[in-house]
């Protein structure tokens, strides 16, 4: 193997092994920062030795053995009276808590350690940005350079964000333990939110080299699957995984070759990935079987599953989707959810019922100037044959959107709706489509 090939192989080993390595070392040292330093030391040793010796048979155990040796050296130095604290004062803490049961501690269930590490990386004491970066680094096994590329940031920015995050955790003396009791639900919600944020950063690629973004979706999915394995009894974890699997299944159909986005109902469903859809159904099934009220992710997954089950857009079970949005509004009240519900009602119970649902939102402060509100109203009015009003709404929506492509589309619809004949044509066309 050439040196560069070995280097790439080491990257792969790092990606596979580093989360468990860092988790085990965090249990040992009680400090994520120290643990990552030790893991990095082991990686440097691998970079020095593997090009000549080849990748060892059990690379994970090799890395852990080196890291452990470095940890012991570190503790010994401290015991010999070199009480030089590092800049975070973490030496005292590490020695006191980690010394007993040193060897045994690494052989215990590494899964629990990994889960503790997940909770630490997503700790609410950190900013959202810091949680995302630290999670990708510690759980996703991404290099700082990879995170920087994915977020179109400089490597220095991301490196600093991670250093600061680790310092914050040390200063806050965040314990390496599973959150319990009342704390647990909030901490779990933070973990799920971080994974969802990462997925969406890849899914709603707004700028940059978009070929890098789908990999961010895959990273989020991978971590979601890991967390689901670690917490098989948590319905919402399976709900999130189901939602991500089903959303990811649409990747190939969401963008035209020229980069233009394709709306859900206009997508070529034959391009959806059916393996991912089946995985999503299975995860949703697990979530539902665990019982209890469905949480916001499971409900969104159930809505996504309704779309996935419809072979063509016209077969969509809008009545069921509207009911799921009702339930979602209960657990996650938000004007955006209410607007989506209105769309579902408009398809499930007809445009008059949809319009009624939208009217309730007209004076919603947070939707003021939101182009989709006007656009949804316009669509419902057009279907009711109220062309002039529809055209007015579409023009309002066009003025409110920042996206040039969307604006052109909305102005086209305004023109079509303004002409009563074409408005009726649109209506007839739509009716036919939905009966098909």
């Amino acid at each position: 193997m050439s040196a560069t090939a070995t280097g790439r192989a080491i990257d792969a080993v790092w990606r596979i092994e580093s989360p468990r390595l860092i988790a085990g070392l965090t249990r040992l040292t009680r400090d994520v920062g120290v643990a990552e330093d030790l893991a990095q030391d082991a990686l440097v040793a691998a970079l020095e030795q593997w090009p000549a010796s080849g990748v060892p048979v059990n690379p994970g155990a090799w890395l852990m053995a080196i890291a452990k040796r470095r940890a012991i050296d570190r503790f010994r130095r401290e015991e010999l009276g070199e009480r030089k604290r590092d800049e975070f004062g973490r030496v005292e803490l590490a020695r006191r808590e980690a010394a007993p049961g040193f060897d045994a501690s690494l052989d215990d269930d590494i899964g629990d350690d990994l889960l503790r590490l997940v909770f630490i990386a997503c700790h609410p004491v950190l900013s959202r940005q810091a949680r995302v970066a630290l999670t990708l680094r510690l759980i996703g096994g991404l290099t700082t350079a990879e995170i920087a590329r994915a977020y179109l940031a400089s490597e220095a920015t991301i490196a600093q964000r991670i250093v600061r995050a680790k310092r914050t955790l040390t200063e806050a003396r965040v314990p390496f333990e599973m959150p319990q009791g009342a704390d647990r639900a909030g901490r779990l919600a933070s973990v799920l939110e971080v994974l969802y944020l990462i997925f969406n950063e890849g899914y709603c690629a707004t700028a940059g080299d978009d070929w890098l973004r789908p990999s961010l979706c895959e990273d989020a999915l991978r971590m979601g699957r890991i967390v689901a394995q670690l917490m098989p009894r948590e319905a919402e974890v399976h709900g999130l995984v189901a939602l991500l699997e089903i959303q990811a299944s649409r990747t190939a159909a969401r963008v035209r070759p020229n980069g233009e986005p394709v709306l859900l109902l206009d997508q070529d469903r034959s391009r959806w990935n059916h393996l991912l859809i089946r995985r999503g159904f299975a995860a949703l099934d697990r979530s539902e079987r665990l019982g209890g009220t469905l949480g916001p992710y499971a409900l969104q997954a159930a809505i996504a599953a309704c779309h996935a089950r419809a072979r063509i857009a016209e077969e969509t079970d809008w009545v069921r989707i509207a009911a799921l949005y009702d339930a979602l509004l209960e657990v996650m009240p938000s004007p955006i959810v209410a607007l989506n519900r209105a769309v579902a009602v408009g398809f499930g119970y007809g445009p008059a019922a949809g319009l009624e649902a939208v009217e309730e939102l007209r004076f919603e402060k947070s939707l003021e100037g939101y182009y989709l509100l006007a656009s949804v109203r316009g669509d419902l009015l057009a279907r009711l044959g109220r062309g002039a009003e529809a055209a007015f709404e579409f023009r309002r929506a066009a003025a409110a959107t920042a996206n040039a492509r969307e604006r052109a589309l909305l102005l086209d619809r305004a023109k079509a709706a303004g002409d009563v004949d074409s408005a009726l044509a649109v209506r007839r066309g739509r009716t036919r489509r939905h009966q098909a």
């Binding site: 890991i226 394995q229 995985r279």
Partner: protein, 142 residues
């Protein structure tokens, strides 16, 4: 990116109908499968009955001909596969290298073609194929 790890077990070409791996080998393989699952990379996997229970369809002269297994000319036959989703080719190779395979076994690692990899004209030409796949797909009702 997705990869297919194709298991080519040594001697499987001549295996008798109904041949099954022994319990110890299965237990080892289950540990490996579990590791793939826990790492969040495993999408799907299956094992295949030996070729002596299968058949080949050839198209010599533009005519479909069915030949029942085993196939005397075949040296390497597929015994199963794993579909994994990883970040790099190296990672796929690393996972393959960790398989508790036998001395005579081979794993072939192949990247899955993604629709987006095709140039626009090929995408257009392929448009009807996935359409057919979707129609024949029996979706489970969740």
């Amino acid at each position: 990116m997705r990869f297919m790890l194709l298991m080519i077990p040594g001697g499987y070409a001549e295996a008798a109908p109904g041949t099954m791996p022994d319990a110890a080998a299965v237990a080892e393989m289950m540990k490996y499968n579990e590791a793939l699952g826990k790492a969040g990379v495993l999408l799907a996997l299956d094992g295949l009955h030996p070729p002596s229970m299968g058949a080949r369809v050839t198209f010599a002269g533009g005519k479909a001909t069915i030949i029942d297994g085993p196939f005397s000319e075949a040296k390497e036959v597929i015994g199963g596969y794993w579909m994994i989703q990883v970040r790099s080719r190296e990672e796929a190779l690393e996972w393959a290298a960790r398989c508790p395979a036998g001395e005579r076994d081979t794993i072939e690692v192949r990247q899955v073609q993604e629709f987006a990899d095709f140039p626009a004209d090929v995408q257009a030409a392929a448009g009807s194929l996935p359409d057919l796949l979707a129609r024949s797909d029996d979706r489970p009702s969740a």
